[in-house]
Structures are given as structure tokens and as C-alpha cells.
Amino acid sequence: MIAHELPLLKLFNELREAGLPLGIDEYQLLLRSLQAGFGISDLASLARLCRTLWVKSQGDFLLFNNCFEQVMPQEGSSKMTFTLQETEFEPAEKKPTALPSKPLAGASTPTPALTMTSEVITKTTDEIRVVQSILPIHSQEEEPSSDHFTLTDEYFPITRRQMKQSWRYMRRPIREGAPTELDVEATVSEVGRQGMLLEPVLRAPRINRAEVLILIDSGGSMVPFHELSRRLVETALRGGRLGSVHIYYFHNCPTRYLYFDSTRVEARPIEDVLNELRNKRIGVLIISDAGAARGGYSQDRIALTEDFLDQLKEQFLYIAWLNPMPVSRWTGTTAEEVMHLMPMLEMSRQGVDDAIRILRGRSTHVKAQLP
């Protein structure tokens, strides 16, 4: 098959570029559906078909509509005709018995050139010649829309999807709740001891009890990264199925208070927060640029940060620091000093993965390499 011959390939590629998780399999689904007669009556039904097959969330929905409008408007009717004709040349599939050779009801007045090609197609069996006859029209169509682009909001070094995938590793399965699961080994050994089965041994099922305390630096130099930290929080809450997530905010360095919201309106003394979180296995994740965004160096800030980290280390085993600035910008700033106090990682796919590994207590030797 030659790329130019495939129907709706442009739309498919646009959507892929926009970030929809589509593969060849999804594309073949569309072909099969078109061959079975779905979505060919008019443009709206084609859009519905593509949505059902390719769009999997409300967010993607808008993205799709946008792409569809960009790719389809002028060429809609003519492309539809192609789609139909081409189905005849699908080698692997069973041929539909009666294909309408005239344009469909919804396709309004096709151009003369097109009518001619449809005739050519129906008469010719030689694929290459068919492609050649379609090609000029296709290349004409491609031109006007070549200068558009699709706006997507995944411009950070780590996408939402990758964040979700990383959070999934944050788990600490613990058996808890009513005993409902059969413990075969214990039952068998009990039978061995008693000589007969008196009662099966049950145990509690495993559930994820991983807890995370996320401390987010907000305001000031962190303003450009608010969206990034917001997404990290959002994915932790929705995608990760963590046991529980505690979120607090601070500015530059926590001294006496932590805040409930990013605008730092409602405060709470640090001691209160720490007293409430008695479990020392809670993973603490700090998100702050540690002065790297502005490139400043402050002895005071280092001292304050060290005090706070000492306070944390007394209580928690697993602490990691994510810095939204890239490693190359840490040199000579406060961040360079802070990274010697504790594992500091940049907020990229690798960095987040490493940070979560630390929070799980797997490795504490991860260290970012300064250039």
C-alpha cells in the first residue's frame, strides 16, 4: 500500500502528532468500520465514527474536534468518495458485494476531475495506475492546509501520561481489612498439623497503602512551574491509586508554616503537619527550584533549608527533591548546595522515576550529575 492511497491518513497523523495514543491497530479499525458501512453517510457520521474509535476522554474530544475541522472542511466530500473506492482494493478483506459507484447522499457535488477518477478506479484493476490517477488531486488538496499546526498543552519535559506511569510505581502493598482471601499455604500447613481440615485460613487482601507528602514551592520564581506541579499533584490524585496524598505549599523554604493552597492563604504550623503524619514510611516529595530559576546564591536560604530538611529527616525515611530547572542551571546557585544535603533531581521523566524510587525506599544513592 502506498501512503497516498490510504483514506483519512492525514487526520490520523494530525491526531497522533497532537498526542492521541493511536497506532496502526486503531487505523485498521477505522478501515474495517468504513468497509462495513459505518460513518460513510456524511461528514458528521464520519466524525462520530472516528470519535468512537479514537477518542478516549473528554480532553481528547476537544483536540479531536479541532483537528477534524482543520483537516476535513474543504476536502471532506471528495475524500469520502476516495475512501469508498479504495475499499475495493483492500487485498486482504472480503469485498463488499455492492459498492455505490456514484457519490453518496451526503457528498455534495463532487468536482468533475473526481468523477473521472472514480470511473478510472472502477475500471482499472492495476493499483499503481489508480494511485497515479488519484495522486494529482491529492497533492492539490494537501497544499492549502500545510501551514497550520495543532496546539497541545503537553509542552513540559514530562507529559501527564508519563507522570501517571511513574506514580504507578509508588506502591506499598499491605494486607489490610477483613480476611477474605484464602491463604492456601497456611491452610495446608494447618491441615498438616491437625491431621485434617478444620477450618480454612483466611487473610486480608493486599491494598496499596503508599502515602506521599508533597511540599510545593509556590509564588516568586516558581510561577512558571505552577502548572507543572499542579499536573504532578493531579496525576498523583487521579492516576496513581495511592493510599493517600497530602499536599502543602510554601514559599522559598518552609520556616514555621505550611499552607493548604498555592496562594498561601490558610496556614498550618509545620509541627502540626508533621505530628499528624506519624508514619515514617510516608514518602516526602519536595518541589522547588531552590534558587536555580533566578540563579541566585543565598547562604541564609541554604541554612534555612538545611534546618528544615533536618527536621524532616528526623521523622521520615524517604525524602526526594524535584527541581523543575534543568541540571545544567544548578551550578553556582543555592540548588548546588542543597543537592549535597539530599537527593535532588530534575523534573524530567528520568528524574521523576528516580524520585519515586527513592520514595519507595529502593535507592537513596540517586544523584543528579552536574555538567
Binding site: 491497530d25 458501512g37 453517510s41 462520530r48 496499596n208
Partner: protein, 304 residues
């Protein structure tokens, strides 16, 4: 187009509704799907892919599967997922304890069944659907309640349409690909690998005209005026809620409308009509939080 469509053996139209006797005896209920939902269902049937359905609570996600099974006259299995559900439990459960017990008692008596391990396999909804020689409609309800790995654990089985009974090594290959509907309340995101294999449809809230039709389908003998008034009052309340809560909060749903109308209908018509004009009648059917009670009951009072 219709010529091609005919080659599809099964086609759902969303037209056939249960008769009053069936409603009475079998607990079946009418279901009025929108055209685009019907299209998505047919696509799922044809492509043999699970159809993932999302939408507001109470918009008829769960009821769709039974309605499809009813219209097409196919067997129906439902699996209501719990937070502790495992993927395997959808296919079969194994009574290991029962076998152990039989093995113990067999030492003295003459129970012989325990030599045959497959005696202790109990088929669950998906397992029964795979074994059935007829295409079966399967509902997997509220998949987002289970653990994050749950949907991923189902992937291979749904893809290859076969599963293995670990205890006996028996391989069960689906005789007919089941028609699978999956509902999600969107409490948690589903893994991408799983989404990739599903078709997706979002059920939108019906228009007021559609609501009238839906109420009528449930109460064919209801007086026209009452239906219209009730739907109007309901729609007002919903619009008001939308104003306050936007897309986020819980709003009154179709299923609550039907419950509410049942109460309204049980009273005399003129009495109900009179009530509809005043303060929201029978608010406990529609308003489910103290906040809502305060806000939407008070609103109407101040207007009067």
C-alpha cells in the same frame, strides 16, 4: 450504505421496548438511546471490541447492556466490579477449600469427585459468556472501582478471547466473541493500554423533549400535562444546579427524574400539578445533600 450494512448479522436499533407484561414480570425497563449511542453499539458489535461508556451518574450507563441484550434476544451476563475484585474472578473462581474438604472426608468415606479438579471450577460472567455458543452481552460495571492493574489484567483475555483455568490447565476459547459493555464513573483514570483496545462513548444528558419521551416510555398511561410540567420543573432545577456547580458537582439525573415522577404520578393529577407550581415537591427524591436542600428549596420560596 444500507446494502453493506445488511452483511452485519446483529444490529441494535434501540427501538424495541419491553411490553407492560415484561416490565411487570421480568423487571425489564424501556431504554431510549440517542442515535449516536446506537451507532457506537453497532460498531462495538461489529468490531468485537469492548465499548467503554462514561457519563453523568444516573444517565443510563449500566442499563444499556441489558437493553441491547433484550432487543437482540441474546443472553446477558453482568459483572459488578468491587474495589477488591480481581480480573480472574470475572472468568472463574476455584473452590480450593471445597476440594480440600472433600479430599479429607474421602480418606474415610467414598467421595471420589476430588480426583477431578475441574469439578471445583465455578464459571463467572465472562467465563459463562465465553462458553456460551450464542453471542452473549456482558456488562462490566464500574470498572474504575477496582485496582489500577485490574483493567490491564483483562487485556490479554479480551484481546485473544481465551483464558486459562490455572488450577486445571484448561484453555477456554470463546465460541462467539461476547459483546462487552464497560461502564466507568471516571473516579480514576484508566490505563492507556486498556483504553486503546476499547471503543469509547460519552452519554450526554438528554434534551427536554427527549426527557418527556423517556418518562413516557416508563409511564405510558401518564397524563400529558403532568409529564410536561414535571420535566419542565426538573429541567429548571437542573439548569439552576448547573449555574451553581458547573460541570463538576452532582446534578439531578434521568434516573432520579423517573423516581420523582413515580411519586408525582401516585398522587391525583390536579394535586400534583398544583404542587409542581409551588415549592419543589418531594425534594428528598432529587436533592441529595444538605447544601442542595438549603439552596434549591429556599430559592423557590423567595421567588413566591
Amino acid at each position: 450504505m444500507n446494502i453493506i450494512r445488511k452483511s452485519i448479522a446483529l444490529e441494535y436499533e434501540g427501538k424495541k421496548q419491553p411490553t407492560p407484561e415484561e416490565i411487570e414480570n421480568y423487571g425489564l425497563l424501556p431504554y431510549l438511546p440517542e442515535d449516536d449511542l446506537v451507532e457506537a453499539v453497532n460498531l462495538a458489535i461489529y468490531l468485537e471490541r469492548p465499548l467503554l461508556i462514561k457519563g453523568e451518574p444516573g444517565c443510563g450507563k449500566t442499563r444499556l447492556a441489558a437493553a441491547v441484550a433484550y432487543e437482540l434476544g441474546l443472553p446477558y451476563e453482568s459483572w459488578h466490579v468491587k474495589s477488591i475484585s480481581r480480573a480472574r474472578e470475572g472468568f472463574y473462581t476455584y473452590d480450593a477449600v471445597g476440594r480440600l474438604r472433600d479430599a479429607q472426608t474421602a480418606a474415610g468415606t467414598r467421595i471420589v469427585g476430588f480426583h477431578n479438579p475441574s469439578r471445583y471450577v465455578r464459571w463467572e460472567p465472562l467465563g459463562r459468556a465465553f462458553l456460551n455458543s450464542q453471542r452473549t452481552v456482558v456488562l462490566i460495571d464500574e470498572i474504575d472501582k477496582a485496582d489500577i492493574d485490574f483493567p490491564n489484567d483483562l487485556l490479554l483475555e479480551l484481546d485473544e478471547k481465551q483464558f486459562v483455568v490455572q488450577e486445571t490447565g484448561q484453555v477456554i476459547q470463546a465460541r462467539e466473541a461476547p459483546i462487552i459493555f464497560i461502564t466507568s464513573n471516571d473516579e480514576k483514570d484508566l490505563p492507556d493500554a486498556f483504553l486503546r483496545r476499547c471503543l469509547f462513548h460519552y452519554i450526554k444528558f438528554p434534551t427536554p423533549e427527549r426527557l418527556v419521551e423517556i418518562v413516557w416510555a416508563h409511564f405510558p398511561d401518564a397524563p400529558e400535562k403532568l409529564v410536561k410540567q414535571a420535566v419542565k420543573r426538573f429541567q429548571e432545577l437542573r439548569d439552576e444546579m448547573y449555574l451553581y456547580k458547573g460541570d463538576a458537582g452532582k446534578k439531578v439525573s434521568t434516573s432520579e427524574l423517573i423516581d420523582w415522577f413515580r411519586v408525582l404520578k401516585s398522587k391525583r393529577e390536579d394535586e400534583s400539578l398544583k404542587k409542581l407550581r409551588g415549592k419543589l415537591p418531594f425534594p428528598s427524591v432529587l436533592l441529595k445533600s444538605w447544601d442542595d436542600h438549603l439552596r434549591y428549596l429556599k430559592e423557590k420560596e423567595t421567588e413566591e
